[in-house]
């Protein structure tokens, strides 16, 4: 039974990978930032906290997925199979913040395609080094973001 489940998961992730998007990121394109920490959103207020949009010190950017024209199951599947399950600590995907690429561009940032591990992967880059400036940009982006909490999977559904 376990092998059957693993095989179906393998098929599903392979199916998710069969995807194509243009190299250039359009300003109107929807991007999704997957959220794994409950401190990074407020379900009651329906908001994404700015910390979800703060750049990583290691990479200097933030990882997002280009999810325009994707159905909900595919958007959650991308987060599950190409972000959460790639980590050794098996983090739990809790929510996501959807925001148009324009929200980053308006803050002087750029959204560039980074098609690994998936063609829809991108990075919001060009962050200033000054911490206060980073924070003001992250707050402005977060104010434009729409919070979507991951629905509970029905029994037997792995995504």
């Amino acid at each position: 039974m376990r092998y059957l489940r693993r095989f179906s998961e393998f098929l599903f992730s392979t199916f998710l990978r069969l995807d194509w998007v243009s190299r250039a990121v359009a300003p109107d394109e929807r991007t999704s930032r997957y959220i794994f920490d409950k401190k990074q959103f407020d379900e009651a207020k329906r908001i994404v906290k700015y910390a979800a949009f703060m750049p990583s010190k290691k990479t200097g950017d933030i990882s997002v997925y280009r999810t325009a024209h994707c159905r909900e199951w595919r958007v959650w599947g991308l987060g599950e199979y190409f972000v959460a399950r790639r980590r050794p600590d098996k983090v739990l995907l809790l929510a996501r913040g959807d925001v148009a690429a324009r929200a980053f561009v308006q803050q002087g940032l750029s959204v560039v395609a980074k098609p690994e591990p998936h063609p829809r992967h991108a990075a919001a880059a060009n962050w200033p080094s000054d911490k206060a400036e980073q924070r003001i940009k992250a707050i402005a982006v977060a104010q434009e973001a729409l919070l979507l909490v991951k629905p509970l999977a029905p029994k037997g559904n792995t995504v």
């Binding site: 700015y50 910390a51 990583s56 600590d89 983090v91 003001i136 707050i139």
Partner: protein, 163 residues
């Protein structure tokens, strides 16, 4: 473990030798509730913030806690947040505690009308940033000597007064 029902609707829960780990946890939580119940209301939000910082320090101690490349929350930064709490005036809304991917702990205020402000202490420097509806933005750095500078106090009093 001894549980004794004391009327009316009170339970005495005593710490005894040989209690299980779970029972000790329950006892600690009940003690905490009793302690908080005895505190004046004005102290309670500061105390609960301190508890929240302690919890953040505990739950965000592993690298990658955000699912990406976050650094562990540092004790130094948590202490910085505690120092800010001690300097906050009483007549403002209580903030929330928010860990950042670089391992810093910030305090944040967020209102329903798109007003967001955040502040943290790095060494002896306060780093603050806020967006107050539309294009009104304020951000920068200020030295910290135990009291909040007037720039930051002004923002808190103007945008986040006690409800």
């Amino acid at each position: 473990m001894i549980l004794a029902a004391v009327p009316p609707y009170q339970m005495e829960y005593r710490l005894e030798p040989g209690m299980s780990e779970e029972s000790r946890d329950i006892w600690a939580k009940m003690e905490e509730i009793r302690r908080k119940g005895r505190e004046p209301i004005s102290f309670s939000w500061r105390e609960s913030l301190r508890d929240e910082i302690e919890a953040v320090l505990r739950t965000h101690s592993q690298p990658g806690w955000d699912g990406y490349d976050a650094e562990p929350v540092s004790l130094k930064s948590a202490n910085g947040a505690l120092r800010i709490i001690n300097a906050l005036p009483d007549h403002i809304s209580p903030p929330g505690v928010i860990p950042e991917p670089d391992g810093e702990v910030a305090l944040e205020w967020s209102s329903n009308n798109r007003r967001d402000f955040s502040i943290s202490l790095s060494d002896a420097t306060l780093i603050y940033a806020g967006v107050f509806g539309g294009s009104c933005k304020k951000y920068g750095e200020e030295p910290f000597f135990g009291a909040l500078p007037s720039t930051i106090l002004g923002i808190l009093i103007q945008y986040f007064p006690k409800a």
